[in-house]
Symmetry: C3
Subunit: 211 residues, 3 copies
């Protein structure tokens, strides 16, 4: 089921690449934010918010292109899913950055840095893979890599849940409130990692159909 693409239809690839590069920048800023002292976080959260807005515009551009293109380079539903899951990644990253600042969180658990490091690496791999959709080369390496990063993220996530919800000593009401806030951030970072896995699975679907 290989396609010959007209230049017009090829226009999807650069848009996916730009969406993934935008996510890679947001992931860098998010990782920096999680490692930064509280005073420097609002500026970094603003940058992640800007990336979310840029991502929304790219999502919109891809969807309009999809709706106006009769013959698409791969299945319409695959394009739809790829676009939606890239959008989910940046939405979750923005939400995590926003909540850290909104809830005026102090020191963050070390495991959160592992989570954002996993996101940073998954984002870099995704940005590298997107241009390869045009030639369908080396994509298997990519999705195997993202799936193993997801396992790493999942281990960090479970360790964080145990650390937060089973604290060693006594906890007071203010402590429980802090746990609530941190858990929300940690859950949202895990959602971003899951969304990267959906991106990788969709790329696999596309590649298998083309093979």
């Amino acid at each position: 089921m290989a396609f010959r693409l007209t230049p017009h239809e090829r226009g999807f690839y650069p848009l996916f690449t730009r969406a993934a590069e935008n996510i890679a920048r947001a992931a860098d800023d998010l990782a920096t934010l999680v490692a930064a002292p509280p005073a420097e976080r609002p500026e970094l959260a603003r940058r992640v918010k800007d990336a979310e807005n840029a991502g929304d515009e790219l999502t919109h551009e891809i969807m309009v292109k999809l709706n106006k293109t009769f013959v698409t380079p791969f299945d319409r539903e695959d394009i739809y899913r790829l676009t939606s899951s890239l959008d989910d990644v940046v939405d979750a990253m923005e939400e995590a950055a926003d909540r850290i600042v909104l809830y005026r969180l102090g020191e963050l658990p070390a495991g959160m840095k592992t989570q954002t490091d996993v996101l940073r690496r998954a984002a870099a791999a995704t940005a590298e893979a997107m241009p390869q959709l045009a030639t369908m080369s080396k994509l298997q390496e990519y999705w195997v890599h993202v799936n193993s990063l997801e396992d790493e993220g999942d281990a960090a996530y479970r360790a964080l849940l145990e650390e937060l919800l089973c604290p060693p000593g006594d906890v007071d009401a203010a402590g429980v409130l802090t746990i609530l806030k941190l858990k929300e951030v940690v859950d949202t970072l895990e959602e971003a990692a899951d969304a990267f896995e959906t991106v990788a699975n969709t790329v696999e679907s596309i590649a298998v159909k083309e093979s």
Copy 2:
């Protein structure tokens, strides 16, 4: 890609319109419930529950029609998404109403009234837009309007999160439990607003394909 529709296939529009009008009534009852004293809430929650049941029947009717119709007025997946997201709206509204009563909540934060007012306005706009799908007129106004309402809802939501999770004074265990309950309701109302945005984005997809 314009279609000529037989009367049979046109049957989707009245169903979407009825689903949206049903949601508009539920949104009015939900807004009334949030502003009402606790004693009046159970009756209003029952009305929202009735609307959810009516919505389920409409969803089922649309899905059966979709599965039995060979040529649909627009893409099957768009009909599927539009129906699902209308269903998500009323499910979230019903869940919010139910939890307020189930958790025997007392006074509700003022920001929750802003949330339900946004939902009421988004529902009215959606009920007005659905019949316009038949002629594809004035739909852009609609989705721009819903997207701006979503921004308004999001601002109210973030302010509520900050208010709930960063209370000014000391908080005790019972207070944290109340925060947990209120946060669940506030999150669910935000889900309803997000589902309206999905409705509007799907309408945009349909309209762009037809243009």
Copy 3:
């Protein structure tokens, strides 16, 4: 819209059946886990985890087959939805089992046993229904049954929410932390029940198209 299937394309049915039988085993282990003393839970959670891994492999096998098959026995999107929702069921069951062990929970509320009993019965019904997709027989009984199980699960879920979040006496910070943990498990079990409903609705979609 009836299809004649080649032996090759019929290969989807055994895969759906195996996926559902795998879920039925996981549901039995999960129900046993919830009724078991804490010391016996880790071994049972490992078995549910094994089932999740087996489910992931089946999901992958179905997706590869779907992507390589030009003519599918029913709509590609229906196969995709059925596979995804079966996967969601086992993911949620694994997550619930894992959190019970990870959070070192002691005695569990009786209502949780009702939840896992509903899951066990929905899983058995689904495993019985999957082979019937090949002949489209007795499927209506199945989805009516699963929808009524979902109602039963929902009633148990709401009763648990009220029990957990509106405890009769005073509660301290440690108690609120326990409520947080239990609520996460209860919510996840409800997600599994919802995913069974999506499985049943998708089966209904498929059957209506074929009728």
